[in-house]
Symmetry: C2
Subunit: 302 residues, 2 copies
């Protein structure tokens, strides 16, 4: 039930493989949504502009939010604020998404990472709407994490890069050196879809449940989750992404987290009800674009 006073907002989930664009007020009220394959900026971005021009002809949007792949320059003091920093997708390096859309659509534009966007969406509408601090992790081709702390998006000198923390790596158990081009065996280098594929020589979806691969995966993800808990003490952890769809993996991560915390100190709420603490996204594949829309609304309301 949308009151006639509710403003419309636009959201873009800018991903490495696709751009998801939507106009609406929230999850129950998406007026229009479309998806475009990510190719070069020259051919992708005009299609996005066309979508918003068409869908806002009768009613304008009050603001546009972008939840983007990165790394992004989100240091407010930087002259390159808002730009995509050097990325494996060379065409996109240096692209100023907010500047581009502000220019073409003449609306206020707000930017954050895809994972901060998803954290915001889950906190506003999804699996973390009853708390004011949450970490959102996605485990797919890469690994990323974002968060809300004391009700605010987790940003500082720029945005977190949670996928790149260093965790214990036992070379006797797992001689794979890691796949991260920057760090070798950081979390992403050990536990991303890319790492799994390189280590086992096959696509993650071809590796059956019960395979040693998943025991190792659960251990690495649990080590990372424990580091996030000890560093941020979030009230909930939401963990999504394609790899997490593997049968039994989430259950094994939860079990291993409890084992690693080892009953220490101030987190009885975590260990006593781990299935309520580490959860799947409530918004499924829509958390990115809904997060972008929510970012637009919350930033514009400030």
């Amino acid at each position: 039930m949308k009151s006639s006073q509710q403003k419309l907002y636009g959201g873009i989930e800018a991903g490495g493989t696709k751009f998801v664009c939507a106009v609406g007020t929230g999850p129950g009220d998406v007026k229009a949504i479309d998806t475009f394959t990510t190719v070069s900026p020259e051919s992708t971005l005009p299609r996005v502009v066309e979508f918003f021009r068409k869908e806002t002809r009768t009613e304008p949007i009050a603001a546009l939010g972008i939840a983007s792949f990165g790394p992004l320059d989100l240091n407010p003091e930087s002259t390159k604020y808002g730009r995509i920093i050097s990325t494996p997708k060379p065409d996109w390096s240096g692209i100023d998404l907010p500047g581009y859309f502000r220019d073409k659509l003449s609306v206020p534009v707000f930017l954050d990472t895809d994972v901060n966007g998803a954290a915001l969406a889950e906190n506003t509408w999804g699996a973390a709407r009853d708390v004011n601090s949450v970490v959102y992790i996605t485990v797919g081709t890469g690994i990323g994490g974002g968060g809300i702390i004391n009700g605010q998006l987790l940003r500082g000198i720029s945005h977190p890069e949670m996928g790149h923390i260093r965790i214990p790596h036992d070379y006797n158990e797992d001689p794979f050196p890691g796949s991260c081009p920057y760090h070798g065996d950081c979390l992403e280098g050990l536990a991303s879809g890319t790492a799994i594929q390189k280590r086992w020589g096959k696509l993650p979806e071809k590796i059956p449940a019960g395979h040693t691969a998943w025991k190792l995966e659960a251990k690495y993800l649990a080590l990372a989750v424990v580091d996030y808990i000890y560093t941020l003490a979030p009230q909930r952890i939401v963990i999504g992404g394609g790899i997490m769809k593997t049968d039994g993996l989430l259950a094994e991560v939860r079990e291993k987290v409890v084992e690693l915390l080892h009953g220490y100190g101030s987190f009885p709420e975590v260990t006593e009800d781990i299935a309520e603490y580490i959860v799947r996204p409530g918004l499924g594949d829509l958390s990115g674009v809904l997060g972008a829309m929510t970012l637009a609304r919350k930033s514009a309301e400030k």
Copy 2:
């Protein structure tokens, strides 16, 4: 220069070895300060009460802040909120410091961890007063960390326990299994003063600069700092505690952090000016008690 309108606040740094108590408005205006050795609660706490009764006879304090050792139960939904949780100091387990002082002194009392207190003091008066996100780490007998994110104290389901993150541990290089009774080779188990003493069989202050011990120590601390950077993206890291007084250690930590970040992504501000990014406390040994005082002021003003 204190205007006559400025209210007085009380601060207690509750530590495992001493309680530091003060009355004042800030670092330049401490009216009274005293230190008591931490023995049992029965003999320590009445001395603290006596101090505040005496020092507030002519002018009352508007509120009292406590920056305490822990772990503490800081989950607002817990029935044990404010209590010290099971700690190696058995007399102190279950003690409700805020309840006790509220009862004895009839003032509003606010509680946080010693390290969150120090982070707040450094952010308000010290080495991080020009930013709105900072991580404060202390490396002493144990290792702890606290933080300010978006201008607010870092708390969620409870407080962080940054000293207990898991970091890479190469048993070939360092066969020491770690000294943490809960986790073995977590950060505290590998890099605290206690760990150093157990590994090398002598007190840290007896180990000369240049010894292998310090190269290893710098590596472990740098691995942890990198994890905090990737998880929180703070605008500054303040690192204090007795162990950090070792000649050359801070410089080596900085160098190793730059090496481990490996120029990745969105943190050029960190690597380009690491000596301005990872810094010593600006308030020295007073950051705890001043943090407690600041906690009282900021919480009371809310």
